[in-house]
Amino acid sequence: MSAAPAYYLPAGLPRPVAEPDGLDAPYWEGTRRHELRVQRCRSCQGWQWGPEWICHRCLGFDLDWVSVEPRGRIYSWERAWHPVHPALRGRGPYIVALVELPHAGNIRMIGNLLGDPMQTVTIGAPVEAVFEPHDDAPAPFTLVHWRTQA
């Protein structure tokens, strides 16, 4: 009898690294502390995700990184069957969810939807984040998954 897999998807998929210019480093550093950090403009208070060097609303460069409550609702989803990467061969279907954060300007986050891969997924359903640390990776990182709220 084998232990339950430690990770939702098998090891061997490309590992996330911060961009060489440092743009998204605060996000990835935050996930290591189980914090969901996104950009917010200090000038116009607009939310921004994914990250950019400038605020798309007011064109200011004074962007802050703020922690947001790691919950949202399902905006869209997909169930992937065909293994497009060698690490996924034999894994079977898995679910990717696009999650909208209404309390942060309706920015959207991508992650896997944990639980039964054949579950019925409902657009609009509330979800909460689940942090998945990969401490054994050459450069440790943490992924952010989602699960439906009871």
Binding site: P16, W77, V84
Partner: protein, 404 residues
């Protein structure tokens, strides 16, 4: 769905390519299954270019410009040297991946001719995927950064996976069932059975065959996804005046538009208009330049990366509303010669060849000449829609002399 164009922009008819440039020649290699081309990619490109020149009845050394898209690996300077061109006057690459640049490359070539930068511009695309990386499998990298860091670690890697959630949301928002995507796939396969050039010629698809095919990523089954192929295709563009003296009936450009809507490329699937084929701003500009409406278009070639992208493309070009999709998208309606909206009449990316969509421009020209293997009687205007869901996308309308 339609965004209105300000009257001030509509009335400026000096800034248009309408009727000024024509596609005078079309050429292509044999189309192969991916990895099976017997020749290197650049040689395929050269063959397609010479074939298009022969079709037009022009001497290859009359070429003085090239336009392509999706980072085609075959640079104009190399082609010009290989072909011994006396002078290279225009070299253009449309930014952006996928097939979104197919019609834009034609528009860029036409603009160069209209502006006097060049006189005879070839639009081309060549692919030999045995020689190079496939599109539908993950690049061999241990790490991912930028946009890829937000998606690859979650198994969101391939183009099908990248676009499935757009389509899933659109189908959900408008109550569109699986039959709509199926009809688009069946139409391409149906048309390919009459097209001896088609890779899927002799391989018909039944509704049952579609329904029983495996999921690639929901909501896409195997037959909702394009093939990957090897080959090359080319178009020769010249001024309308010059085209009238050449061998073939000219296919005049009536309009071309390219681009995408507000913040389409916002990272991590944050485009405000998410459930879109990216044409909500492009399509109205195309109609405005052409001075036409959907009823004027006889036949549509709409790039199938995935059938759901075709569905949204047709809606964004106002052929029908999202609420009508379940009723309009039937095999009968989409089939030449007498369907309401004959679609992808060569077999397209699904069943003729994934020539990154440039086979669609060739088929549009064939329709106007009466040379299609699935002719639409009396076709006078044909639309090509390039590369849904990427950014930038593009679309174009060609017409016969009567449409000028």
């Amino acid at each position: 769905m339609r965004n209105e164009i300000p009257q001030s922009e509509r009335s400026d008819m000096t800034r248009t390519i309408r009727g000024r440039v024509a596609i005078a020649g079309i050429g292509e290699t044999t189309y192969y299954k991916h990895g099976q081309a017997p020749e290197p990619e650049v040689k395929l490109a050269l063959r397609a270019i010479l074939s298009a020149c022969a079709d037009a009845g022009i001497e290859p050394r009359a070429i003085d410009g090239f336009a392509s898209y999706s980072n085609d690996r075959n640079e104009p300077s190399r082609l010009a040297a290989a072909l011994g061109l006396p002078e290279l006057r225009f070299s253009n690459m449309q930014w952006g991946g996928g097939g979104g640049g197919g019609s834009a490359a034609v528009g860029n070539a036409a603009a160069a001719i209209a502006a006097g930068y060049a006189d005879c511009v070839v639009v081309f695309r060549a692919l030999a995927q045995g020689q190079f990386q496939r599109f539908g499998s993950a690049p061999p990298a241990a790490t991912a950064s930028g946009e890829a860091a937000l998606t690859f670690p979650y198994g969101l890697i391939s183009p099908a996976q990248r676009f499935a959630m757009k389509v899933m949301r659109f189908l959900h928002d408008h109550g569109i069932g699986g039959g709509a995507q199926r009809a688009i796939a069946l139409a391409s396969y149906h048309h390919a059975q009459n097209n001896p050039r088609a890779v899927m010629h002799g391989r018909p698809l039944t509704p049952e065959g579609y329904d029983e095919s495996r999921w690639i990523v929901e909501p896409f089954r195997l037959f909702d996804c394009c093939m990957e192929n090897d080959g090359a295709a080319a178009l020769v563009l010249v001024s309308a005046e010059r085209a009238r003296d050449l061998r073939q009936r000219p296919a005049y450009l009536l309009g071309v538009a390219q681009g995408s809507e507000y913040r389409n490329a916002a990272r991590g699937h944050n485009a405000p208009t998410y459930a879109s084929a990216s044409f909500t701003t492009v399509a109205p500009r195309l109609w405005a330049m052409a001075g036409l409406a959907p009823k004027d278009v006889s036949v549509v070639q709409s790039y199938e990366n995935f059938t759901g992208g075709v569905l949204m493309s047709l809606i964004e070009h106002d052929f029908f509303t999202a609420e009508e999709a379940n009723d309009v998208l039937t095999l009968e309606n989409l089939t030449a010669p007498h369907g309401r909206l004959p679609l992808n009449t060569s077999g397209g990316n699904l069943a003729e060849c994934y020539m990154h969509g440039l086979e669609l421009q060739i088929e549009a020209v064939r329709q106007l000449r009466g040379q299609s293997s699935n002719p639409v009687p009396g076709a006078r205007a044909a639309m090509v829609i390039s590369g849904p869901m990427v950014t930038p996308v593009s679309s174009m309308i060609v017409g016969t002399e009567e449409m000028l």
